[in-house]
């Protein structure tokens, strides 16, 4: 009997198995995204053919290998500009950008900034593992202070970027942080994000046992997952003051919806002013 998973229609199943390491959180992030997409398709908000996925380079960016939508796997950090171009030419499409913190917040940081400033109609999913995973564990702008990485053998001298605080200062319509340790909340945020006009951004805290976990003393995937789970604190509408991620073992990482507004979106402004 040919048993197919109900979400298989959204996957290029001939490319499976995927490349992600055992214990990696990206799989949970992608499956949550697919469930959220499936619910929106079932509601008729958009069709399967109207979804486009764009990614840059990195572990998370490999998601477009497997997503059975019109998709583009482009250059490092430039998924957002590609997606903006696509949205401008095909405004009827639901354009989803999926990438890691290195791709979206580091090399692509400036593009993110201006996409947020313009409130471009995109769903941006940033899987944050706080490290450059694919390239072997180099420090990232999202790496918490003091952490040992392959490029910070004495510990990280730098403060981490708080992407939630950064984007909250701009014009995004939706800004949430979720964690793969709480997939039901993650799915809910992705579902909400997919229903928004303007820029909807979901940061997804995700364990990378192979590289990041090893550096912080949690090489075992289950131990790292449990550690992350114990640190996550859910608040419905947390204050921005609580959005820093320090990874102090006694400090919480707060997940929740930080911004949920309905400013006029980029495409709506273009429609109003005329092309």
């Amino acid at each position: 009997m040919d048993v197919r998973h109900p979400l298989d229609r959204y996957l290029r199943t001939d490319r499976l198995p995927h490349i992600w390491c055992p214990g990696c959180g990206i799989g949970i992030a992608v499956s949550s995204l697919l469930r959220a997409i499936d619910r929106r398709v079932a509601e008729g908000l958009f069709t399967h053919d109207e979804v486009a996925a764009v990614s840059g380079i990195g572990c998370t960016a490999r998601a477009t290998f497997y997503l059975n939508f019109d998709s583009a796997h482009v250059i490092h950090g430039r998924a957002i500009p590609f997606a903006i171009g696509l949205k401008l030419v095909r405004p009827n499409l639901k354009v989803i950008v999926i990438g890691g913190d290195g791709d979206i917040a580091a090399i692509g940081g400036n593009h993110l900034l201006h996409a947020a400033r313009r409130n471009v109609d995109l769903t941006v999913v940033m899987v944050n593992n706080m490290i450059y995973g694919m390239t072997g564990g180099q420090v990232a702008p999202t790496t918490p202070p003091n952490v040992y990485t392959t490029t910070t053998p004495s510990g990280n001298y730098e403060y981490a970027i708080n992407i939630v605080k950064l984007l909250s200062a701009l014009n995004v319509n939706y800004l949430a942080r979720a964690s793969v340790t709480h997939p039901h909340i993650l799915e809910r945020y992705l579902y909400t994000a997919l229903g928004k006009e303007g820029l909807a951004f979901v940061e997804v805290i995700s364990p990378c046992p192979e590289v990041f976990g090893r550096h912080i003393g949690y090489r075992d995937p289950v131990e790292l997952f449990k550690k992350f789970k114990s640190m996550i604190k859910y608040e419905e509408r947390p204050s921005l003051d609580k959005s820093d991620i320090t990874l102090n073992l006694d400090k919480e990482v707060v997940i929740g919806e930080f911004v949920n507004s309905s400013r006029e979106s980029f495409i709506k402004i273009i429609d109003r002013l005329g092309r």
Partner: protein
């Protein structure tokens, strides 16, 4: 289409590389200015002839045109679009600051008069479509996002489905197809002009704004009885080797006049290996004058 000059183009190169790999039709109007780096804004030069050929990493063929007048900017813009759509390749319209600032009379064609070539669309069903499966001309039909084909645009080395395949077989096949789809369709690209070359003992090779001065000089020298001609490639890349050989057939000496340190001359020397090819580099932040060119050329004549 996008438009830029050297500093902007340098920033765009990774995107150009992506366009080559993903076979995205693209026209770049590149207005050369004095460089390196910020150089002199709004001033001219022809320094970037090799940059447009080799800017991106990897191996590929790219197309570049060098217009010499406002009319040709118009005509070659149309041609650039047609070539980039037909071959799914980036085309660079290599202008310079001198051309960008001049005012000239232009004849604009009526809409019906312009030949427009659009990219090929898929002829097979959505299920059978493979985004990088070429036809006989080595160019794959192009489905767009939103049409239901589940296109995969891939920057990694990919097979016909767009799937990443890190193997010799796929890499060789892809790279050679990216190169050969341009080489095998070169007849649609070629464009050049020859003046007084039939019996010329000397042939000047010049392109773009510099060719305007070279043309004035050649006409002057002709009227004083010197058998000299001008060959002006409008297509810089890929090089029209046969056109160059034909235009310089009777020449004892070939002068390559450029507003740079002499860069395209290396291509000319390579192709005309049994001829005397002389580089005439005249750096001028406007356009080299006929006198300035002649001053350098005279000692070789």
């Amino acid at each position: 289409m996008t438009a830029t000059s050297g500093p902007g183009f340098s920033l765009m190169v990774e995107g150009l590389s992506l366009a080559i790999m993903t076979e995205t039709p693209l026209v770049i109007a590149y207005v050369m200015r004095a460089g390196p780096s910020t150089g002199i804004a709004t001033k001219s030069g022809q320094y970037d002839v090799m940059q447009v050929r080799w800017a991106a990493h990897g191996n590929y063929e790219i197309v570049a045109y060098a217009p010499w007048s406002v009319q040709e900017l118009y005509d070659l813009t149309i041609k650039s679009f047609n070539v980039s759509e037909a071959l799914r390749v980036p085309v660079i319209l290599l202008s310079d600051a001198a051309l960008a600032h001049i005012w000239e009379r232009v004849v604009i064609a009526d809409p019906g008069e312009v030949i427009i070539i659009n990219r090929k669309k898929p002829k097979v069903s959505k299920e059978l479509y493979r985004p990088f499966e070429p036809e006989e001309d080595l160019v794959p039909p192009m489905a767009c996002f939103g049409e239901g084909y589940k296109v995969l645009v891939e920057s990694l080395t990919h097979d016909e489905k767009g799937y990443y395949k890190p193997s010799n077989e796929v890499q060789r096949k892809l790279v050679w197809r990216l190169v050969n789809k341009v080489r095998k369709n070169k007849d649609m690209l070629f464009d050049s002009a020859s003046y007084f070359t039939e019996d010329a003992e000397y042939v000047v090779v010049a392109y773009g704004s510099t060719a305007r001065s070279a043309y004035a000089l050649v006409k002057d020298l002709r009227s004083s009885g010197i058998k000299i001609g001008l060959y002006r490639p409008k297509l810089l890349w890929p090089v029209d080797e046969e056109g160059l050989i034909k235009a310089t057939y009777t020449a004892k000496k070939v002068f390559v006049v450029e507003n740079n340190i002499g860069v395209y001359v290396n291509e000319v020397s390579r192709i005309l290996k049994h001829r005397e090819v002389i580089s005439i580099p005249v750096i001028d932040i406007e356009v080299p004058t006929p006198d300035a060119i002649f001053e350098v050329m005279r000692e070789w004549m």
